[in-house]
């Protein structure tokens, strides 16, 4: 029984138990008495996140469970902390948002919990079957969450677009896994190595590369990168704001965690033991995807009048920056990705918290309606400003250091392709500065129209206020006290590199 090592998966067990308890509670209570569900959800999420973090001290990493299908190492622990924090922040936003919705509280919390469970599993999977199942757990939960406001035609439309493209991406991903399995005769990440041709399948290396290509394309949907990026602005606009926040951080980070694992399994700069060399065509492919994604996101964001669409395009742009870290294929690059995700967590969720509060008063996401927020609600305006500047990558903020590490990792490669991508990225940063500052200008330099009192006396619920403070502090801590967090990201990247 030792090989099952059931207790190692404690965070997942806690989350699963929470889901079952919430399911039971939801079935037992009337629609107007759902307070208990919220408490159970909070308790479960806190326990699971705490447990995942404690594993960093009390588990002798790397450890495996369930015959090796489930693994805990430095990388998975850091990622689980990120996902747990994301889920907690999103739940705080959802608490406020659900007050405006009278039905479906139980379903919302259940779906959010299931997506979180999927994200936790994503960190620990060690084979392609686990990858697919955990990814689908996230994706299917998000299909439902996107179309959650089922009386709102825009939400339904967003849901349709997300489902159709998502299902197509899933199909590509699975086909890619099938070809990788065909070439390597194994679903394990750590056993990927070319095998002798079996029964006339010639050119196994080509089969493996083709499979990897399809897998990467399928994952591009999750991270909102070219060529599967078109859904992003529409879904961000149509879905409820807490869902959009969850999508922009949790779902995207899950895609990146899996991308890192797959890339680490199949590609390597050293070309050891049958893996594909990560130079040449593959570096070129990732560079192409990263550059196209940055251009698409940053140029598309230029003429957006809707805050959530703007954040949608900006999220595409950020996927491009993080991809730059992936394409470095080395420890520095992977550490940069982890750091970027940590910084992005506080930044983007802070921005979304403000968007939810403002939308609650305005019932609109038009950027022009944010006029005068700086005078009417200085704290909200401050958090939004810091968040946007951090997204833009202005020096004392968290986002700057994420970008710095990513650019550093790429420039250190010293190849023409790397320089080109870095140049495109730098151009993207300059462009993004413009549209983020346009919003900041709207906050402080433009006065609200006469008689518009919608933003007067905004009341911020306690959990949301906590989110705002934590995000604000996080943005500055990850900008000033960089060293411990960089060390954490480097440890995670080291564990990832050692996972072979």
């Amino acid at each position: 029984m030792r090989e099952f090592n059931v207790a190692l998966a404690a965070p997942e067990w806690i989350l699963s138990a929470t889901i079952l308890v919430v399911l039971f509670q939801d079935a037992r209570t009337r629609w107007d008495n759902k307070g208990g569900l919220g408490r159970t959800t909070w308790l479960g999420l806190l326990l699971a996140t705490g447990c995942a973090m404690l594993q960093g001290w009390f588990v002798d990493t790397p450890a495996t469970a369930f015959l090796g299908h489930y693994g805990v190492d430095g990388f998975s622990i850091v990622c689980k902390a990120i996902f747990g924090a994301t889920a907690l922040f999103v739940m705080a936003m959802a608490d406020t948002w659900l007050k405006r919705v009278d039905r479906g509280h139980g379903e919302f919390r259940l779906l959010a919990l299931m997506a979180t469970l999927g994200m936790f599993f994503v960190c620990s999977v060690r084979d392609f079957a686990g990858l697919f199942v955990s990814l689908e757990l996230i994706t299917v939960s998000f299909y439902c969450l996107t179309a959650f406001k089922r009386n709102d035609e825009r939400a339904i439309e967003a849901g349709i677009k997300y489902v159709v493209l998502g299902a197509l991406a899933t199909a590509f991903l699975l086909l890619g896994i099938a070809f990788i399995y065909g070439a390597t005769e194994s679903l394990w990440f750590h056993k990927i190595a070319l095998t002798e041709a079996s029964d006339g399948v010639g050119g196994n290396a080509a089969l493996l590369e083709f499979g990897l290509l399809l897998t990467v394309l399928g994952l591009c949907f999750k991270i909102a990168a070219v060529p599967f990026q078109v859904w992003t602005p529409d879904v961000y606009e149509g879905a409820a704001s807490p869902v959009t926040a969850f999508l922009s951080m949790g779902s995207k980070a899950a895609g990146f965690v899996l991308l890192l694992k797959v890339v680490r399994a199949c590609l390597g700069p050293d070309g050891d033991a049958g893996i594909i060399l990560a130079t040449g065509a593959w570096a070129g492919l990732f560079a192409l995807i990263a550059a196209a994604t940055m251009l698409y996101g940053n140029l598309g964001a230029l003429w957006q009048g809707n805050m959530k669409r703007l954040l949608g395009y900006s999220s595409i742009g950020h996927a491009g920056y993080v991809l730059m870290g992936v394409l470095a294929f080395n420890e520095a690059g992977f550490a940069a990705v982890v750091y970027y995700l940590m910084a992005y967590l506080f930044t983007v969720l802070g921005v979304f918290a403000v968007v939810i509060i403002v939308n609650g008063a305005l019932r609109s996401h038009a950027i022009t309606d944010y006029a005068g927020l700086g005078r009417k609600s200085p704290f909200l305006a401050l958090v939004l400003t810091c968040g946007l500047l951090s997204l833009a990558g202005v020096p004392p903020m968290a986002g700057f250091f994420g970008k710095f590490l990513v650019f550093q990792a790429v420039v250190q490669l010293g190849t023409p392709v790397a320089y080109t991508v870095a140049f495109v990225g730098a151009a993207g940063v300059v462009v993004s500065m413009y549209y983020y500052l346009c919003v900041v200008k709207q906050l402080y330099m433009v006065e609200a129209p006469e008689g518009d009192t919608r933003l007067d006396g905004l009341v911020v619920a306690k959990p949301l206020k906590a989110v705002l403070w934590v995000c604000l502090i996080g943005i500055f801590v990850l900008g000033f006290l960089v060293q411990p967090f960089v060390a954490m990201a480097q440890d995670a990247a080291e564990a990832l590199m050692a996972a072979r």
Partner: protein
């Protein structure tokens, strides 16, 4: 005549092509969904074929999971499509364009 791995792969490739053509040409959301299911099944056929000729059973177990997940995905997709149909009696994906910009 014996059936070899190549025949499985050919079937998979045919299913994949039919599925992609369905996804690209259909304007009906359910038609698109059927195309996607065909691609998923193309992958399933490939997995089972590779598994049969490489000696391992893991991919066949994986396919069982894929079948269940595909059913769950289809159920959710149908629910959303049906909701759109109730709203505008029309499930043409090309006419779903309230969100633009």
């Amino acid at each position: 005549m014996t059936i070899g791995l190549f025949h499985y792969l050919a079937l998979g490739a045919a299913l994949f092509s039919i599925g992609v053509i369905g996804v690209v040409t259909r304007r009906n959301a359910i038609g698109v969904l059927i195309g996607v299911e065909l691609i998923l099944n193309a992958a399933n056929v490939n997995l089972v074929g590779f598994s049969r000729y490489s000696g391992g059973l893991d991919a066949q177990v994986f396919v069982i999971f894929v079948i269940v997940l595909a059913a769950a995905e289809a159920a959710v997709a149908l629910a959303i499509i049906l909701q759109l149909f109730e709203k505008r009696s029309d499930i043409d994906v090309d006419r779903a364009r309230g969100l633009r910009g």
